[in-house]
Symmetry: C2
């Protein structure tokens, strides 16, 4: 947390733009800038990152004009322009950042945002609606959000447009008198003028606290529109030039680092594999002595959490039917109640191929009204999704008030398949743990119930199910060559799951590991866990 | 309009499924069906159409169970399941069909819809909320919607699940007593039971009126769940088999027809081109005699509407500045008022390359609060968009209440670039006129203001602007090789525009042709037209 006082900061970045710039002089300075920016925009299209330009501060200080200027000067096909007011009906039913995630520019493009995630904390503090503690907590969320985007490569530049009170008042009076522009000055603007120094102080605090490498603040004097424009355009040009260069250098480094990491990972895996094989041999030897102990079929001493599961747990048919009926009644009522209370929930399923995720999901949805839930089958991302942060496609699917979204596979793909198959660089999946914890914290802090299942089966049981799928005509479609390939990486997945559970099981969004060798047992455990989670939330 | 009475129809499709089917017998019949359906689903993935299965009728008659059965039996990765209740906040701010468009399955996939566009008209009629006239008008919209989808290849099967009143009552009582299912029976269901015969009659009417080739009705007796399941599964299998075959045959025919159409078109174009060239020569000869008449630069006798525009219209700088100021003041106030009244608007721009669309849009948006509008740059469709009906991506962008969406190019691409470049088959762009008129009627009937501009310039003026773009550094990006290529097809575009304007200019969504050789004149005409449209709407 940078502890510099507002005064000190002001001294550090002196603003002395009082001279007027003639139109002719501006044109002369601006023309080459425009050509350079267009050239940079053209380069950007081939880059693997997006650019986010934020304009905050008083509308009168030129927030919208600045945004329009850039939109006008550059190629509009690669620009997304958004301005935010109070949340609409559909926005207020989702976590606060939902609307920003939805609007993020894809890689190679520029997003121009007027108004942003800074508006609420700054105004709430200035109005006295929140104290400093809540203010800084809100800014922590801002930092986490910007860090997530910046880690993905996004260049974030935040322009704070400000004017002194007297000049602002003069400008507002002039606008009010002008027929063409009088609509621009509303009651709210006069109210903001009254709070001018409070708002300024809050802005100053927010800027100091969030002026990180992930998103730099640029304070721009709004008094002189031409100076203002030049400052913004030059800053964008310089920052974009530097960022393109830095990203290219970084890509080379990442490639090198990945090779090193890969070697380390493979060494570690060899250790674990050797260990697992040893344990397997031991347990086989043990089983040969005591053939009636199916629980010991994998070595429980590998140190991996999955191997500590007792996969021999099972339910008899009668018991299952009785439990199923009870759970269904309970779930049905709870879902209805939750629906009418406007509470949303997310249930996600992960697990090896053929673990029984689909079956468990169907047992859940059988207790629900089809209008209240959606099942999202997560497969490889589409072209549009690949051009965005990996969390973007999940934000898109967040349920509205009172609805439930079930994910059949989820954002954990980042630290499972993308890690194991090398689709994500080590740096990428390593920081994903924190990003995911942060993402889920945003959901739960909005009151969403988050339930996460890892349904586990033993390697032998998977083999048995694959074979079964091969022989039963209407189950054949479920088995692909990929499933057999994934199976070869069983140990790598075991290590990944171990780390995933350890690093992303939080109090509000804990993992539930389900012993899945017996489908009946697994289904009841899933239903029971969901019941409990809903009960706790209501 | 099929005039058959309900009775007659009932006779035509006798429903005599009273026998019970044992579980064992059902399994024996169902297993091969399942394998066949999975095979068909696999074939479907490579086809160029989607499948829509609608389940309507009483929830108790097995609407959701039927949907769940199919979802369970097939590969869930290629299935979209949706169930509809009353419109949510975000849905009720858009035209009625917005939510259905949003949920349509992409090509190669199956959409399972429980509840649908039939719910409202049927229930409104049964409740006495609307009379028969409004009922049939609503059904006309239904037919237009289904026709649009069917023309795109979609296979639509509509299952009407019904039960007689006594059986329904018995089932509801049984469910109510059952702890696991009591939540399924609500007050609304008892109310529907009271209206049973009215609802049934309304359903019957709706089914008769909309049982077209575009979407067949299948009446299913809901009394016996196993019979019901078999009927549905067999129907899907047979219809899908036939549809795949028919589409393949059709594709071959379309290909042949396209070759013929193409020859006819080329012949017609040769005629028009010759005519245009002759007129050009004549006007050049005339201009040589009277050099002071720029209005006659293209032959006004080609018979094409664009050639009747007086492109010599222009505005002096002073007049322009005065008009601009006035229009901006007017527009600013009108947009604000419209925003607060919750009225949405769509403004679209079409025109040749370099016609000045972007400039006109910027003059409009300068009068608006950036939070109130969005500019959509329409380029080639993405992978996701290509897998849908061509109107799908525009439905996606419909503004919410009080907002404005500006389209820089639009759905008219279907009858312009897609027609001229041959991206759409003749049959496809030919029926697009009606589809577009219908689409816009849905918008205007929801109170949306629709304003459509064709900004026109002469071929000479375009050449001048292209040359200018080539020499000014910051305008270079605007000019691509494609622009020069498009220019070669000037005459083909003229013919396409002529037909477009003639066939899609309606009272509520008329085309405004803008004389664009003088940018100042064009901009003022655009602003003025928008002002007038907003005035009429308020």
């Amino acid at each position: 947390m940078p502890k510099t006082s507002p005064k000190k900061t002001a001294r550090r970045r002196p603003v002395q733009l009082t001279q007027d710039l003639t139109r002719a002089r501006f044109d002369k300075l601006a023309k080459p800038l425009r050509t350079q920016l267009l050239g940079l925009q053209d380069q950007l299209k081939a880059e693997d990152f997006s650019v986010l330009l934020l304009f905050v501060g008083s509308a009168m200080a030129g927030k919208n004009e600045s945004l329009n200027l850039i939109a006008e000067w550059l190629d509009p096909r690669w620009i997304i322009t958004r301005a935010y007011g109070p949340p609409t009906a559909e926005e207020s039913q989702r976590p606060e950042y939902w609307r920003y995630w939805r609007d993020l520019p894809p890689k190679g493009q520029i997003g121009l945002f007027a108004g942003s995630w800074y508006h609420k904390p700054v105004h709430d503090l200035a109005n006295g609606e929140i104290g400093r503690r809540k203010f800084f907590r809100a800014l922590d969320e801002v930092r986490a959000f910007e860090r997530t985007l910046a880690a993905d490569g996004t260049l974030i530049l935040k322009f704070w447009l400000h004017m002194d009170k007297a000049a602002l008042k003069k400008r507002m009076k002039a606008l009010e008198k002008d027929n063409a522009n009088s609509w621009r000055v509303g009651d709210l603007d006069w109210q903001h003028l009254k709070q001018h120094s409070k708002l300024r102080k809050a802005h100053e605090r927010a800027a100091n606290y969030t002026d990180a490498g992930d998103g730099r603040w640029i304070r721009v004097d709004g008094n002189d529109p031409r100076r203002r424009a030049l400052t913004i355009l030059k800053t964008v040009r310089d920052a974009l030039t530097a960022h393109i260069k830095a990203r290219r250098k970084r890509r080379r480094q990442v490639l090198k680092a990945a090779q090193i990491m890969d070697r380390i990972r493979r060494d570690r895996l060899t250790d674990i594999s050797a260990n697992l094989k040893k344990l397997e041999r031991q347990s086989q030897a043990a089983a040969a002595k005591k053939p009636s102990s199916p629980g010991a079929q994998t070595g429980a001493g590998s140190g991996l959490i999955l191997d500590r599961l007792d996969l021999s747990l099972h339910l008899g048919t009668e018991e299952y039917q009785r439990e199923l009926k009870e759970r269904r009644a309970d779930l049905g009522m709870r879902f209805r109640r939750q629906h009418f209370a406007g509470k949303s929930a997310i249930i996600l399923f992960e697990g090896p191929d053929a673990a029984g995720k689909g079956g468990a999901i169907r047992r859940l949805t059988a207790s629900m009204d089809a209008r209240d839930y959606r099942v999202i089958q997560v497969a490889a991302p589409s072209e549009e999704e690949r051009a965005q942060h990996y969390l973007w496609r999940f934000w898109k699917h967040l349920p509205q008030a009172g609805r439930l979204t079930i994910f059949d596979r989820s954002w954990y793909g980042r630290v499972l398949v993308e890690r194991v198959e090398g689709f994500a660089q080590p740096g990428e999946w390593m920081r994903a743990y924190d990003e995911i914890v942060d993402f889920e914290r945003q959901l739960t802090s909005r009151g969403l119930v988050v339930v996460k299942f890892w349904i586990h089966i033993s390697k032998d049981e998977q083999f048995r199910r694959f074979k079964e799928r091969e022989t039963i005509s209407y189950k054949k479609w479920k088995l692909t060559a990929e499933d057999w390939r994934n199976r070869e990486k069983w140990n790598e997945y075991s290590v990944a799951v171990d780390e995933m559970v350890a690093r992303t099981s939080t109090e509000l969004a804990p993992w539930t590991l389900v012993e899945g060798n017996d489908k009946k047992f697994a289904r009841i455990k899933v239903m029971d866990t969901v019941c409990q989670a809903l009960r706790r939330a209501s």
